[in-house]
């Protein structure tokens, strides 16, 4: 049985990819991502990194069967199981992890960042396992595969869940070259250049350059490669964000003459790869507010941006054939 449909070659139907990134633990956004296969009638779902959520909300049981929790600067007192369910459903939408605990357990975590990080990893790994299982279930019987990888905000410990077993529809593509169709391959690098947030998977631009070079050496025809690089190219307009002062925590905007300073936070190595290899297309994320498209010779590079916190899935449909992008469409669903 053929695992891949005959698509993407010149003279045939284009291969249609749906790309999204930076959903940061948001449950409805991930579910939308999986449903995008049927909704947008695409052949492959490519994820561009940053699976993990950023906050963990302790939901502390009070005596008397009620709960307390803090969200967005407000203390919530949940008096009924229905209120608890509604509250945790909202947390799932926002991409936050939560754990029910009694006051003693909560106090045991306070100030112990190592244990908090371990709890984050545990909850994130559980959620990722559930997501992989959900993908297998939803895509069963279809030809669509979902390509998952990490970004700079994900920890290696959590990403390990993608390689715990061999899956039918889920492809773990981090730092790998994997086939997309009969003609194109997907090359994935999830690292970013250093950020003021000191996230788990940052590398110097030189190191990213070496990883890209190593992978591209193995690609038989770079013009038929889809580059799934979490970090966008430097100064491309896909990487514009506010400059932050890393000497304070949390990092604060750099203000000059009363105004915030903007700069390109992308990678020169990624820019060079797009420019030198002239791949089919570059797919990028990382900078949520820099939705857009840039061009490097014949190669378009996209960043669909992210609005996971509102439960909105921002994405990109890209149709490729014969090493060329024949059509593209940003989505916001």
């Amino acid at each position: 049985m053929r695992l891949l449909r005959r698509k993407g070659k010149a003279g045939t139907e284009p291969t249609r990819i749906f790309y999204a990134s930076d959903i940061h633990g948001s449950e409805p956004t991930y579910r939308k991502f999986l449903n995008a296969a049927r909704f947008y009638e695409v052949d492959a779902l490519v994820f561009g990194g940053d699976l993990m959520g950023k906050l963990l909300i302790p939901v502390v049981r009070d005596a008397g069967g009620t709960w307390r929790a803090s969200l967005q600067g407000r203390q919530h007192h949940l008096e009924t199981p229905e209120q608890l369910r509604e509250f945790t459903r909202n947390l799932d939408t926002l991409g936050f992890y939560w754990k029910e605990m009694d006051p003693e357990e909560y106090r045991s975590y306070e100030g112990d960042q190592e244990r908090i990080d371990a709890l984050f990893d545990e909850l994130a790994r559980d959620r990722l396992r559930e997501w992989v299982a959900l993908a297998e279930e939803r895509l069963a019987g279809s030809h669509v595969k979902v390509y998952l990888c990490g970004g700079n905000d994900d920890t290696d410990a959590v990403l390990g869940a993608l390689d715990e077993e061999r899956f039918e529809r889920v492809v773990s593509c981090e730092e790998r070259i994997v086939p997309l169709d009969d003609e194109h391959v997907l090359v994935t690098v999830g690292y970013s250049t250093p950020t003021p947030w000191l996230t788990p998977r940052e590398r110097s631009d030189e190191e990213i350059g070496k990883i890209i070079e190593g992978l591209m050496r193995e690609v038989p025809d770079p013009s038929r490669a889809v580059l799934n690089f979490h970090c966008p190219p430097l100064d491309s307009g896909l990487d514009t964000c506010m400059k932050l002062d890393a000497s304070v925590w949390p990092p604060a905007p750099v203000i000059e003459n009363g105004q915030p300073v903007y700069y390109g936070a992308g990678s020169e190595s990624v820019r060079r790869a797009l420019h030198d290899y002239q791949p089919t297309v570059g797919l990028h994320g990382h900078i949520h507010e820099s939705r857009g498209v840039a061009r490097y010779g014949r190669t378009p590079a996209f960043n669909p941006g992210s609005e996971y916190g509102e439960g909105v899935l921002r994405g990109l449909i890209v149709a490729i054939r014969g090493g060329e992008v024949v059509g593209s469409q940003f989505t916001s669903g």
């Binding site: 307390r68 909560y106 100064d235 307009g237 903007y262 857009g292 149709a319 059509g327 916001s332």
Partner: protein, 544 residues
């Protein structure tokens, strides 16, 4: 028993997102966009609707706009993205409708405001300032320059330079504009304050004497006010009209041409810090409306005190009836020109003039800022070519969209100032712009039903009235009040389209909508040939 705790959130090292323009800057932006010192109300309404009460009419406009502004607060917090009205309408009504309405009635028709802002700068900013300075200092060259500013050649040159300067400022970085905006804000407030003081500290008979003296120095005429009043009476102005309630109601659509712009900041919603916070949007949208309406009422009261009903009617006759005797230096008696005549001091004239010059420059800037954001959003949705949404790598701004809009504005500027019938052909501008905002109010009313998931995730979802989402109540009221005013532009002779005796202006409005529809259909067809559907840009995926 376990002791109750107030648990805090656990965090880890992960990247964060920070936005830009402060809510206060967005608030200022809206106040300035309403052109607080350029309201047409004072020279349009008094003679178009003789017997109307200006102050009451402005209050009606405020009351009619308030539900619209509040409904926008729901939209702006649910969809805090650049492209505002286009994003709202396309997500609620669908891409074809949203694109056609906002492209045709905003992007195309706002070209008229680019031309108008050049005219404002030349005729109401530079001309009276230099004429006033020439008269008070006795330097003829200043008077001559002021007169040239109000000539056709002067207006076109100044308009193009105005647009070019705005283009250069905005492509060099949005933060440069935001920085300059504070200068504009304080300059305009100072100008407005000086005008108020001048009107409040005089009386009609003294003001008439000042106007006579000023007109004599500029145009060499004597008994200016008496002559202008007699000419106005001959033209049909009744100087003792009885109070007319319907006329007062019809002042509202005119004042609305200013007040409706209190929602314009939504076009750059993606750049406003904490744009998703409800109280911020209420402050930005409704707050700017309250302040501007208050200032307009104050100016109406000040003018009533300073130049009286006769003065207001004479000033209005120059505009509405084209009474040449009721103009000075070829310029309508807008509040600033009257204030300049009352000032008698080069410093005060410079302060007033500086405010007008800054506000007219701000208006051209906001034409560019709003429409380029809309074009970028439409381009990212695949409804305009990708070229429009490209961001300059160094300046981080949508240079192509700015350039396209500048080039498109040049023929409109030339036509506006050289083609006699142009203003008649384009009477639909007030209808078109108002229609966009009214339809956005309807989008707000339908948001909970047509974009359920977006609405439910928004902070406004918690407000209901008798079980009905409050946004639906406000949006429906806003749609009705906006519809009343938009309908007035269509059917009431003293307003907008109905002023014209032929059907051509109506067909021009229809024509722009057809152009919008054609662009949509063309892009949709091209995209389909590339294997993608533009409808995907607006469709919400069910999570289950």
């Amino acid at each position: 028993m376990a002791e109750a705790v107030a648990p805090q959130v656990f965090t880890r090292r992960a990247s964060g997102l920070v936005r830009v323009m402060s809510p206060y800057s967005a608030f200022i932006y809206n106040v300035l966009t309403m052109g607080v010192i350029f309201p047409w109300t004072y020279i349009w309404a008094p003679t178009a609707f003789q017997g109307s009460n200006l102050t009451l009419g402005i209050i009606f406009a405020f009351v009619f706009e308030l539900p619209i502004a509040l409904a926008y607060a729901w939209l702006a917090t649910a969809l805090p993205r650049s492209g505002g009205d286009y994003v709202f309408q396309s997500r609620v009504f669908g891409g074809g409708f949203g694109f056609t309405v906002v492209f045709a009635f905003f992007v195309v028709w706002i070209l008229q405001w680019v031309a108008l802002s050049g005219w404002l700068l030349a005729v109401l900013g530079l001309a009276p300032t230099f004429i006033g300075l020439g008269v008070t200092t006795g330097i003829d060259a200043l008077t001559s320059f002021g007169t040239w500013c109000a000539s056709s050649g002067g207006i076109i040159t100044i308009s193009i330079l105005n647009a070019l300067l705005s283009l250069a400022l905005l492509v060099s970085g949005f933060r440069n504009y935001v920085r300059l905006q504070y200068v504009m804000w304080y300059g305009i407030l100072a100008s407005f304050a000086v005008m108020l003081i001048l009107f409040f500290t005089t009386n009609p008979s003294a003001a008439q004497g000042e106007l006579d003296g000023f007109a004599s120095a500029v145009d060499g005429v004597s008994n200016f006010f008496a002559t202008a009043k007699a000419a106005a009476a001959d033209a049909g102005v009744n100087f003792d009209p009885p109070f007319w309630f319907f006329g007062t109601l019809m002042v509202a659509p005119i004042a609305w041409t200013s007040l409706q712009w209190c929602t314009y900041s939504v076009e750059q919603g993606g750049e406003i810090k904490n744009a998703h916070v409800f109280r911020n949007q209420v402050f930005i949208l409704a707050g700017s409306l309250v302040l501007t309406a208050g200032l307009l009422v104050l100016l109406a009261l000040a003018m009533q005190k300073g130049i009286g009903s006769d003065g207001i009617l004479v000033a209005s006759s120059g505009y509405w009836y084209g009474v040449g005797e009721a103009t000075i230096g070829g310029t309508f008696l807008m509040p600033n020109l009257i204030a300049i005549a009352l000032a008698g001091s080069p410093i005060l004239i410079a302060i007033i003039g500086f405010g007008y010059i800054l506000n007219s420059f701000q208006i051209v800037c906001n034409c560019y800022i709003g429409t380029t954001r809309i074009m970028v959003a439409q381009s990212l949705d695949g409804l305009l070519p990708e070229w429009f949404s490209r961001i300059h790598p160094r300046w981080k701004t949508p240079v192509n969209a700015h350039l396209a809009y500048f080039l498109a504005s040049i023929p409109v500027i030339v036509a506006y100032n050289t083609v006699d019938a142009w203003v008649r052909w384009t009477l639909g501008v007030t209808f078109a712009n108002g229609a966009v905002m009214t339809l956005s109010a309807l989008a707000a009313a339908l948001l909970p039903y047509r974009a359920k998931a977006i609405y439910e995730a928004s902070p406004g979802a918690r407000y209901t009235l008798g079980g009905v989402p409050l946004v639906t109540v406000l949006g429906t009221i806003g749609f009705l009040t906006g519809g009343f005013m938009v309908g007035s532009f269509l059917f009431v002779e003293g307003l907008g389209l109905a002023y014209s005796i032929d059907a051509l202006p109506y067909w021009i409005v229809v024509g722009t909508a057809v152009v919008g529809l054609l662009v949509y259909w063309t892009m949709r067809t091209i995209k389909a040939q590339q294997g993608v559907k533009v409808e995907y840009a607006f469709a919400e995926i069910p999570p289950e």
